[in-house]
């Protein structure tokens, strides 16, 4: 009665495709909940900005534009690299997939290093909203609130990045061990969805953090 089934297939699935499509669906749904997570943050942000635009703009002008912009390009590039890796995987080229993963991780790590450096600059300029604060006067309240949102948003995004770098590394290790073949590479696809999502979050955060106040 028992039939030959791929080793990765769990017993509740009819076949590997059934399982793979299900995993991808699960990741999309998870990303939907992530949209609501960051969406809630951005709604609150816009709401607060609406009441004190001058303070938020004054706060926004203190951000380090070049690091934010560079990081934007880095992340878009990383998504491109990882997607290329997935395309290589689909073509059966595991060696190239591993290389793409390594490059993606390197770019992700660079992003994080730049982010840490940026936080260092922010903190040394007294931009953390609690305690002594760089901006004084009528705009201080709004500017502090801008920096509250800034730190909550960037720390949450960085946590997502750290998890993402870990996941891409895990894909690379699995790929090297020969866990994937052209019939089964679901994790590569699922991690790719996650990575692109984290990238998109930054694309949304970038104008809100760096550009709106300078407009």
């Amino acid at each position: 009665m028992s039939e030959e089934v791929a080793p990765h297939t769990h017993f509740q699935y009819a076949d590997a495709t059934h399982q793979s499509d299900t995993a991808v669906a699960g990741m999309w749904l998870f990303l939907a909940s992530e949209v609501l997570f960051f969406g809630g943050l951005i709604i609150a942000w816009m709401f607060c900005r609406h009441w004190q635009p001058a303070g938020f703009d004054a706060g926004g002008r203190e951000t380090v534009l070049w690091i934010g912009t560079l990081n934007l390009f880095l992340l878009i590039t990383s998504s491109f690299v990882y997607s290329s890796g997935l395309a290589f995987m689909e073509a059966g080229n595991i060696r190239r997939l591993v290389q793409c993963c390594v490059v993606t991780m390197a770019i992700g790590t660079l992003f994080l290093l730049l982010k840490f450096y940026e936080w260092h600059i922010d903190l040394s300029e007294n931009l953390f909203p609690a305690g002594p604060f760089k901006i004084t006067g009528t705009d201080a309240g709004g500017a502090r609130m801008f920096w509250s949102f800034y730190f909550v948003a960037t720390v949450l995004h960085a946590l997502h990045m750290i998890i993402g770098v870990g996941l891409v590394g895990w894909v690379a290790v699995q790929a090297r061990r020969g866990a994937f073949d052209d019939g089964w590479y679901t994790p590569v696809e699922v991690v790719g969805l996650y990575w692109s999502f984290v990238d998109i979050v930054w694309i949304v955060l970038y104008p809100v953090i760096y550009l709106v106040g300078r407009g």
Partner: protein, 541 residues
């Protein structure tokens, strides 16, 4: 369809390993459901003890407990534990976890490991909250309104918030798992309109889990940030807005209120056709009523804020939208009555609980309309009327539904029959005790007794004593199932595969089911409630 047949496929899930490890590291949805059941039972009696102390305090006008501080901490503990650690996981995550794959003809949920992780997240969140509640507690109420929870925070607000944040991820994981499972793991022939209504209600609940819980998560993060660093997103002195917190909080928590009733509506829709031996009246209406309740849930949060100072336009809009909720709710009640009409009704314990549910849910729902009306709400806001209203829905409704589900599926889950007469007595006692406890609170609220006060004017004493007396009856009624269900595990008669003559797929498995649920995937050819014409006894499966 190719399927893997595992060697241990013919073993009941209960005998498939007896070590602690085989339970704590299981990925079997049925065992995880049992783990949840043990956890929420613990939380239920803990939250219940807090409630008992609240009712004890309110026996005399000046309060039996001397300190208002202690009283505040007690009702906060009661609210937090009951909402997040009992009501939210009770029917969907506990009963749903067990029954969903069985009802779909699936061998497990789509992501079994995620299912186990979600239980551990739930326990971690629970541990965090318990630590805070026992090392002094907090006095903010379960709603954490700022600035009481930030500038004026006493006790471990941060720890409780972190606990709820973590358990929120458990909800998201379970909701995600359920939605994907319902989409992807239905047995052949099990089309959407052949799904049992309970599955539809789990689906609707899961949508709320996945889409509302993350908003609570980010709100709690902002609250935590504000509490820890004393910066103000919600603090008006620093340019923030406390109403923003209420908006964000209720954007989650109002849909969450429907997490606490939708699965109950599903349970009752399962039980009534079986014990009336009649097809569910208006199946599609019942189904779409569940879905529309879930959708409308996202657009009514402002009715918690009629007196918070939101604009009149917003209040009128939210009031109107809140009235809309009554439409699908009423559809359900009328369709149950339609199902009962000319049915061959059996008064087994699950059915008695279901009857209790219909009555109490209707009362709770109708008083909801009073509160949705702007003018009436100004009078009734934050009085015992509100307390009575939501207890009719959550306790009278959801807890009744939980016990209905527990009795209905107990033979399937454990392989044992419970003592029927005791169960019927407990069901009746629960209905009685509930009404004696909470009906006086409607009157108290109407007379103007505010909620959350540890003392009250002497003229309210009679009704308060009545309410506390009812609470003791209710407590006894809750302890009864704990005793006789536990007893039945050891001494109960063996349950047949299908004790009630149900037509769902879950009754086609043995009691208790095999580890892999179905050795051969069933093929579905008809709807879940197509009972034979009245008068003809169904043949047992």
């Amino acid at each position: 369809m190719s399927q893997i047949v595992l060697p241990q496929s013919q073993i009941s899930y209960l005998s498939d390993g007896v070590s602690l490890r085989s339970w704590l590291l299981t990925t079997d949805h049925k065992r995880i459901a049992i783990l949840y059941m043990i956890s929420i039972t613990f939380f239920f009696f803990l939250g219940g003890s807090a409630a008992a102390l609240i009712r004890y305090n309110l026996l005399v006008p000046q309060g039996m407990i001397q300190s208002a501080e202690t009283y505040n901490r007690l009702f906060t503990m009661h609210g937090i534990i009951m909402v997040w650690f009992f009501l939210v996981p009770a029917v969907p995550v506990t009963i749903g976890n067990f029954m969903l794959p069985l009802m779909l003809g699936a061998r497990d949920l789509a992501f079994p490991k995620l299912n186990l992780i979600s239980w551990y997240l739930f326990m971690a969140g629970g541990a965090c909250a318990l630590y805070a509640l026992f090392s002094g507690g907090i006095d903010t109420g379960w709603t954490f309104y700022t600035p009481l929870s930030s500038n004026y925070a006493q006790g471990h607000v941060a720890a409780v918030v972190i606990g709820i944040f973590i358990s929120g991820f458990s909800s998201i994981a379970t909701g995600l798992n359920f939605i994907v499972t319902i989409h992807r793991l239905r047995a052949p022939g099990l089309t959407w309109y052949r799904l049992p209504v309970f599955v539809w209600s789990l689906y609707s609940t899961s949508v709320i889990f996945v889409l509302a819980t993350p908003v609570l998560a980010i709100t709690l993060i902002l609250l935590l940030f504000e509490t820890l660093f004393h910066v103000g997103v919600f603090d008006p002195r620093l340019g923030g807005d406390p109403l923003l917190f209420q908006h964000l909080f209720w954007f989650y928590s109002h849909p969450a209120v429907y997490i606490m009733i939708l699965p109950g509506l599903g349970v009752v829709s399962e039980i009534i056709p079986v014990f009336a031996r009649k097809e569910l009246f208006g199946y599609k209406f019942v189904v779409w009523a569940s879905v529309s309740i879930a959708v409308i849930a996202f657009f009514v949060w402002g009715h918690h804020m009629f007196v918070s100072g939101q604009s009149l336009f917003a209040s009128v809009t939210f009031s109107l939208l809140s009235y809309f909720v009554a439409v699908p709710s009423a559809i359900k009640v009328f369709n149950w009555l339609g199902t009962l009409h000319k049915g061959h009704i059996r008064f087994d314990a699950p059915m008695i609980y279901a009857f209790g549910f219909i009555g109490l849910f209707t009362m709770g729902g109708l008083t909801g309309l009073f509160l949705a009306a702007l003018a009436a709400d100004v009078e009734l806001h934050d009085t015992y009327f509100v307390v009575a209203h939501f207890h009719y829905i959550m306790v009278g409704g959801m807890v009744s539904a939980y016990f209905a589900a527990l009795h209905y599926w107990w033979p399937k889950m454990t392989g044992k029959m419970y003592p029927e007469m005791l169960a019927r007595a407990a069901a009746l006692l629960m209905f009685l005790g509930f009404n004696v406890t909470f009906f006086p609170q409607f009157i108290l609220g109407y007379l103007g007794m505010p909620r959350r006060y540890h003392a009250y004017p002497p003229e309210f004493q009679v009704l308060n004593v009545l309410s506390s007396a009812g609470a003791t009856i209710l407590a006894a009624a809750y302890l009864m199932p704990l005793v006789y269900l536990t007893f039945s595990l050891f001494r109960g008669d063996r349950a047949p595969a299908n004790p009630w003559g149900g037509l769902g797929l879950e009754w086609q498995t043995p009691s208790p089911p095999f580890t892999i649920n179905f050795v051969v995937t069933p093929v579905v050819t008809k709807g879940p409630y197509e009972f034979p014409k009245p008068g003809i006894e169904p043949s047992d499966v």
